[in-house]
């Protein structure tokens, strides 16, 4: 290892000021800090020892937490394809079909990940090079989330444009990772949602009916097949008592939906990792789920006579993107409330809004994206109020003494 270290550092001299590849120094720098922990030592004053956690470790933990949802999402993409094309009938799962489902889904999802990372990291590296800064790791997570929250039939060029838009206009113009006010991945999705609404909703967005990489493109749809998501069905039905699925079907996640959002248990696995490592706030998650549950229950009890208002509160929690958003997106520390007390309020706002949007807005079957973006908007205000209380307390001391 020592030999490799010396060789690598020798190679790095090409990227220094005056070296032949100095224009690529941010690339080298990113890979250098990726391979070897920086040798920087503490300053002359200040703490002389530092904890082992850094931005890279934090971000990679979120990526790890997303892996179960991604793997399941890949399988589900293939599974839905096999169902739609009639290759799989209920109860007819075989080992070969299982691998075909996973393989198909893997190949279908992989280009999304590649496009999102190449576009996003390309911009990040370029900006870092221009600003002479280190490449921040924030996009490792963003780039991983974007493929998980888009419908599988979204054209790749749309994903590329949305990613570029989000990274530039939601992050870099604010100053980069840590300075953005909106969750970058959600901005990418919101961009797609408003710029290309026809590709993002409807019966044909969430199931890959055609092939991938030319594989299985000849398969014919079964007659009368509908690819509507459960939330979509609820929003469009006239039957006020429609129950598109039961709880365990929703929790298991073998249903149409965005790639990573369908499977409750895969998301909860990620949540356990995030909470155990302390990377994401359990307060935000719990607050969202509790408030959403209560709000949905109130609509169950007192709401209008529509299918979505009658949809049981526990079903709301496992349907659509609520769980995924609560665990992975609302907890983004940069855009969420930063005070501990503020996190409860922030979560409650999101939990309340997501159900209100679902039930009362006829245009949007799913409200998580807008609820979190609204939460992001209000997070600084919530924190301001919490901190203000501390300031008032301090000012009151003066009066007690004077």
């Amino acid at each position: 290892m020592e030999k490799f270290y010396q060789m690598w550092k020798e190679f790095g001299k090409n990227f220094e000021e005056g070296g032949k590849w100095q224009k690529l120094s941010s690339f080298y720098d990113a890979f250098d800090t990726f391979l070897f922990t920086p040798q920087t030592t503490s300053g002359r004053v200040g703490a002389q020892v530092h904890g082992g956690n850094d931005s890279k470790r934090t971000m990679i933990l979120v990526v790890m937490a997303l892996v179960p949802a991604l793997l399941f999402g890949m399988f589900n993409v293939g599974y839905q394809h096999l169902l739609a094309t009639g290759q799989l009938v209920a109860g007819g799962m075989t080992c070969a079909l299982w691998w075909k489902a996973f393989g198909f889904g893997f190949l279908a999802v992989l280009p999304f990940i590649l496009v999102s990372y190449i576009v996003g990291l390309g911009i990040e590296f370029t900006v870092a090079q221009i600003k002479h800064e280190e490449v921040a790791e924030g996009f490792l997570v963003t780039g991983f989330i974007i493929p998980l929250i888009v419908p599988i039939n979204t054209p790749l060029w749309m994903v590329a444009i949305a990613t570029a838009f989000a990274v530039i206009f939601a992050k870099e113009i604010f100053g980069g990772t840590g300075y953005n006010i909106f969750n970058v991945a959600l901005i990418a999705r919101a961009f797609l949602f408003f710029a290309y609404p026809s590709a993002m909703t409807g019966d044909h967005a969430f199931i890959r009916e055609g092939g991938t990489w030319g594989w299985d493109s000849q398969a014919q749809l079964v007659d009368g097949f509908s690819g509507a998501t459960p939330m979509g069905q609820l929003a469009t039905t006239t039957d006020a008592n429609l129950m598109p699925m039961d709880f365990w079907t929703a929790f298991n996640g073998l249903i149409p939906g965005s790639v990573g959002e369908t499977c409750g248990w895969a998301i909860l696995l990620g949540a356990i990792l995030l909470i155990c490592t302390g990377v994401a706030s359990w307060k935000t998650m719990l607050s969202i789920l509790a408030t959403a549950g209560v709000t949905a229950w109130l609509f169950n009890a007192f709401g209008p006579e529509t299918a979505v208002a009658n949809y049981p509160w526990y079903m709301h929690l496992v349907s659509g993107g609520l769980l995924f958003g609560a665990v992975f997106m609302a907890t983004d520390p940069v855009t969420s409330a930063r005070t501990e007390c503020g996190k409860w309020i922030y979560g409650a706002l999101i939990g309340f809004m997501v159900i209100v949007i679902r039930v009362l807005n006829p245009g949007y079957p799913e409200g998580m994206m807008l609820a979190i973006l609204l939460g992001n908007t209000f997070a600084p205000l919530i924190d301001w109020c919490v901190v203000r209380r501390n300031i008032k307390k301090r000012l009151a001391r003066k009066e007690a003494v004077a």
């Binding site: 070897f36 030592t41 503490s42 890279k56």
Partner: protein, 454 residues
């Protein structure tokens, strides 16, 4: 007695505690008084090369407060005045005559004005620090209270029960003298066995329990007597109280103190009897690990500062730590792989599963590696709530820090900048995922505040 129980904070399990025994250090010929050790003052020299001085004779005074004198720790002759850029005084070198004759000051005036005058004249005024600004107490202010913490919870901190053994008469004398100026509050570690501190009179005692930084005077002030706008608080280190006690009892400014040599890479880890101005090499000489590059730290690993062997002992030093610099360590994929040999304050590393009582009882006491590497690159503040876990004051550290970075004086004051010192943020800097130089930010902000407001 008021009891304070703190939950937030962190104790770092570093090995290399000083043994409870005292060694003396060979007396050097030349003592160096370094004005830079006294932060925030501008020295005006009162001696010239060739002058004879006694221990306690003034050497220089502050430009703003001319009565604030800084005195010689030894008797002898001024042999050199070293100047740096723009004729800045770097050090005043005094050749010891080996006799250690003291200038004896008049101690008859026991009222507040008398005690103040004595401290200013003796050169020991600078041992009194004040909040706000964490600087040498401004003589034109009267404090609301004076806080003394009798224990230090920082990593490997000196054991003040040991350091003060047999000197409680002096401590009591100092408390009595300072109580003429303002009420004195003395903090005792909760459950501490020694009764000497509990027997102190003329002061209010309180007990504090909890992990570091429970021993910091700033934290204690925040819980015992929260500062209001316009308040000034004084804090004095407990060993420095003994110096003041000797002064008020005998009229001599005897600056002899005990410093602890600690740290994983130090040999001869024990207490040394030193005088300020001695070269540090007298202590470090034979006591440093030779194979690894070592970092010498004056103070503890959290709030101390790096020194080199050719610098001089400062009047403020109570502890030295010797640490691996870490430049010989090339860690492959340190952000991903578990670090089993290191201590983890958070749970992001799987190796942190080993940092609990159960694992320790099974595998025995673990020796952790410590080095001075930052282990990451500097980023914008990303993770939230990590400072709060180690900051047991009624303050939002992250918001205060942001106000400090932005240089917003009003906001800083509103958020409690008057109550903090850089050392209170030491653990924040240790846990910071974004690797911000937190204490330097606080230091600069407090200095700016003082310049703009005073």
């Amino acid at each position: 007695m008021q009891q304070i129980f703190l939950k937030r904070g962190l104790d770092l399990p570093i090995d290399g505690k000083a043994e409870l025994q005292v060694s003396s250090v060979r007396r050097p010929d030349i003592y160096r008084i370094v004005p830079d050790h006294f932060a925030g003052i501008t020295p005006k020299l009162m001696v010239k090369v060739g002058d004879e001085v006694k221990a306690g004779s003034p050497v220089f005074h502050d430009k703003t407060f001319e009565e604030m004198l800084f005195t010689s720790p030894v008797s002898g002759r001024v042999v050199d005045i070293v100047r740096g850029d723009r004729r800045k005084v770097m050090s005043i070198n005094i050749e010891s005559d080996g006799k250690q004759e003291y200038e004896v000051l008049d101690t008859t005036a026991k009222d507040a004005a008398g005690v103040r005058a004595l401290l200013m004249r003796s050169g020991l005024w600078c041992l009194i620090k004040q909040r706000p600004y964490d600087c040498i107490a401004l003589p034109n202010k009267t404090p609301r209270a004076i806080f003394v913490s009798t224990f230090d919870t920082a990593p490997l901190a000196p054991d003040y029960e040991f350091v003060l053994r047999g000197q409680h008469v002096q401590l009591q004398a100092a408390v009595t003298a300072l109580s003429k100026i303002a009420p004195v509050y003395v903090g005792i570690r909760y459950g501490a066995q020694a009764t000497d501190f509990r027997a102190l009179k003329d002061c209010t005692l309180y007990e504090v329990a909890g992990p570091h930084p429970a021993g910091n005077a700033g934290v204690q002030i925040n819980h015992v007597l929260p500062m209001a706008k316009g308040d000034t608080m004084w804090t004095v280190n407990v060993q420095d109280m003994v110096l003041i006690g000797r002064l008020v009892m005998t009229g001599k400014a005897d600056m002899q103190k005990l410093v602890a040599l600690t740290g994983p890479l130090a040999y001869g880890k024990e207490y040394y009897k030193v005088l300020p101005g001695m070269p540090l090499s007298a202590i470090f000489a034979q006591n440093i690990h030779k194979e690894l590059p070592c970092r010498l730290v004056a103070g503890n690993v959290l709030s101390g500062h790096q020194v080199s062997e050719d610098e001089a002992v400062s009047l403020y030093d109570n502890q030295y730590t010797v640490l691996d610099e870490g430049t010989m360590t090339h860690e492959f994929m340190g952000w991903l792989l578990p670090r089993f040999s290191e201590f983890h304050a958070d749970k992001t590393d799987p190796a942190s599963l080993m940092d609990n009582e159960c694992a320790r009882s099974w595998f025995g006491k673990r020796l952790y590696r410590w080095d001075a590497r930052i282990k990451g690159g500097r980023r914008a503040i990303i993770v939230s709530g990590e400072y709060d876990k180690v900051f047991p004051m009624d303050i939002y550290p992250e918001y205060l820090l942001k106000a400090m970075i932005a240089g917003n004086l009003d906001k800083m004051e509103q958020l409690g900048a008057n109550e903090v010192a850089p050392e209170d943020f030491a653990l924040c800097e240790y846990v910071c995922t974004s690797k911000l130089p937190v204490q330097s930010i606080v230091r600069q902000a407090l200095d700016t505040m003082r310049k703009e407001i005073e």
